[in-house]
Amino acid sequence: MDGIHDLGGVQGFGKVPHRINSKSYKPVFHEDWEHLGYSLTVVGGGLLAAYATDELRHAIERMSARQYFSAPYFDRIIVGTATLLVEKGLITQEELDEALGSHFELAARSNNPGRPAPARANTAPFEIGDEVQVRDEHIEGHIRVPGYCRGKRGTVLHRTTVSWPFPDAIGHGQQDAAHQPTYHVEFSAKALWGEGAREGSVVVDLFEGYLTRVEAAQDSLAAQTDGT
């Protein structure tokens, strides 16, 4: 989904609150409840196996913009975890409200079933050096394509030797999600942010189903078009 969590390239954000090597990073947690974020979500997603990590990501993406931007990081994990446990029937909204002593605001429900990996499969896996294009898709459910690279062309640097369930399916609880490798695809900064961008690149880790091959002929035609 093109949600407010998709922050890459969004402008108007100020300085990152950090100076390099200024912190010892101990203690790891700064408030006495923070460890509960990861601990409880590992109970729910790991020990109880109630949901996949992509479902947790999707639950957090479904938080309202107000809630998302005002909640500290581990609070978002708690809200996402609580949302999924309620949706899976393992706990209830009423229990949460009673334990909290007031209304426990959860993320919005999803009315989207997710989708399997695109049917138009590639004839063969991509190889290092291949030119690929990110499909110009507008998916309402969970997806792991940041908006800034949608429709853009890049170069394959690596194909993973392991496969994982397709996020758009497993993120909606589809246990039969197809497993695919991902590709490290490098996009030039100019391709992403326009000709005025400083030299550099961004590498995005993309599932096979998000990509199509750029054929040489198509590439040549497009170059003519771009040059018009």
Partner: protein
């Protein structure tokens, strides 16, 4: 802390976390001791000192370096630095003119066993929004003002690969031990927002 009376909970992050803990505990979902054990793992076992040891080994052992770049998971496995959020580790090789930097623009993915949990600033909206678009500017603001001939390559952790940066070994460290070299590798160096510098630290305990 785990037995919080419910009328003491405010509708705050702390209150919500403890409310969820209470409900899950009452349902019997939380095994005895699990939270303490897992918190210990997060606070102590997952540590940037782990990644520092991996880098120091790669700087001193050419075969290990080759393995690390070819199969980061296998290389880190030699130290036991795999498992949760360390299932597929990829090391990113810096050069004098290339600086790799890691971000997770969509959430907060990080190689926990190698780098430790991601720091607050890494999870900030500012870092997530800006790094992919203005990497060199962000690094300069953070205090790492790269020379003009250095290109920034940002790695957005959007799937299951978990990255660590393999920095360039600083000049003047030829006779340093692995332990001494590891002391140059901070969490910020492993994320890629900082470069190691031999002058930053007194060498080892001898204070050379």
């Amino acid at each position: 802390m785990k037995e919080t009376s419910h009328d003491l909970l405010a509708n705050t992050p702390s209150g919500r976390a403890n409310a969820l803990l209470k409900v899950m505990t009452e349902r019997g979902y939380v095994p005895e001791g699990f939270i303490d054990t897992f918190t210990h793992t997060m606070e102590v076992e997952w540590d940037p000192a782990n990644g520092a040891r991996v880098v120091a080994r790669a700087w001193t052992d050419p075969e290990f370096r080759e393995l690390l770049l070819r199969d980061g998971t296998a290389a880190c496995q030699q130290f036991g630095y795999t498992g949760m959020q360390g299932e597929y580790i990829v090391a990113l090789e810096n050069t004098p003119t290339l600086q790799n930097v890691i971000v997770c623009s969509l959430c907060s993915c990080t190689a926990w066993p190698v780098l430790g949990l991601p720091p607050e600033w890494y999870k900030s909206f500012e870092f997530r929004a800006r790094l992919v678009r203005e990497g060199a500017d962000v690094l300069r603001e953070l205090g790492e003002d790269l020379p003009d001939d250095v290109v920034v390559k940002v790695w957005d952790t959007t799937a299951e690969s978990r990255y660590m940066v393999l920095p360039v070994r600083p000049a003047g460290t030829d006779d340093w031990s692995e332990e001494e070299l590891a002391a140059l590798i901070t969490k910020d160096v492993l994320i890629g927002v900082a470069r190691p510098r031999a002058v930053d630290l007194p060498r080892g305990t001898e204070g050379v």
